[in-house]
Symmetry: C2
Subunit: 283 residues, 2 copies
Amino acid sequence: MSTKINELQIIENLRSIAGRDSLGLLDDCAVFGEYVITKDVLVAGVHFFPDDAPYNLARKALRVNLSDLAAMGAEPFGVLIGACLPKDISAEWLNDFNRGLKADIEEFGVQLLGGDTVFHDGALMLSVTAIGKTSKPLLRSGAKIGDNIFVSGALGGGYLGLQNKLKGRGDLRYELPNPRIELGIKLREIANSCMDISDGLLLDLNRLCEASKVGAELVSAQIPLADMAADLLEQISGGDDYELLFTADCDAVAGCYKIGKIISGQGLKLDGKLVAPKGYVHN
Amino acid sequence: MSTKINELQIIENLRSIAGRDSLGLLDDCAVFGEYVITKDVLVAGVHFFPDDAPYNLARKALRVNLSDLAAMGAEPFGVLIGACLPKDISAEWLNDFNRGLKADIEEFGVQLLGGDTVFHDGALMLSVTAIGKTSKPLLRSGAKIGDNIFVSGALGGGYLGLQNKLKGRGDLRYELPNPRIELGIKLREIANSCMDISDGLLLDLNRLCEASKVGAELVSAQIPLADMAADLLEQISGGDDYELLFTADCDAVAGCYKIGKIISGQGLKLDGKLVAPKGYVHN
């Protein structure tokens, strides 16, 4: 009989064969020389809707990877795109997709370095590899007890955007994330630890705490939400926000929100009570 | 009405937005600093058989990318693996796949740097990014008139292996290519141009000639074939051989076969007659 397995078990298994520069597969990118590198796979029906407009879809596929570069404090350098395309895809669709690629390649000053396209009988799949450059990579493992915890913007927009999409309404908060490149570069000199929030604040902060061997306490009233009237826990355990989460030994960082403190021990507290690190896990 | 499009048109469209370091998307890898990088996507039913054994499949996915590094005269440095896995995949399958990865990571001295796995309703897809290092990248565009043309081994094994696979018989020539890493490194000091043969000698030599703005003449009796009794044209226009094709201003290279000469003009001649650059094109 065969045994079922999930994504986290796979990563755990791969960790045992991962290379030195992979940083134990714990960070948003691997680091080699002055470069950092990341790779994300996006599949129709899992990470986006099959009928999403190709112009923004191309940009989203780039941007979720550029967000990983931002999390490492890196400037975008180059991208490679792998695409498995349904056989009946139209030239119009591809032209719009390429226009989207071109727009973001120019906006973020990144080079298209290569890629591979395949036609097949299945759904659309995109695989993007992004390379960045940084003099000082930001890691998840650097949080110090006493650090303040910051986020770069309102959380929950990705979650609320997804709810709208499920009702058939377009929502750019889900369709077009905004990688915090400039902030990431600035944080090289400020942050002790950093990552991007792709699976929700609680789950991702817990990952940062585990990597740093610390705990964290959050103050709900200080957490900026996309909809202050909507449910807090749903907005901080949904996916696709792509804001930066970082810790620093200072009281304020321009444009960012201080939401809590790094403490000794382990686990997360919200308003003084332990909270489960619930987050967005595909399937 | 929508318009159909093929893989070559896509590459042509992307070329207009490709970056400087992409080398116009004409080579086996992009070059940046001392590094080269490549990315290949493999899909079940297109590049391999859905029931291929996972141990060798993992190694094939790595090796077709390592072959691109060999073509640039690069040493393997790191790989990132993206995988879209069918939801009903078993832990046993994944364990065998990971064992294959581990075996080749060790054999080729390459680091696993990262990756991404997704479960979905469709077929198995693998996307591998490979990074190499070289002091002097070998390009397709360096062939000189008067160069001899060489290949690193017998051609047609991939094609004949595929025919066996289609009859339900295993064939390692198709299932497990052998990237010519050591030869690629040696060729840095010897070859004027180089690439790997993934789509057949004729099609790939024509690409090399176009990149170098030259023509080529081949002597059929000098072309080493996997089966000297089987059809020549089929064996030099089938895919999946992954031997190196290179040109050099010398008469012999140890372990390699001299198969013809670079000439002025354009197009390919076989035994004095023009021959169409037929090759293996997916779909």
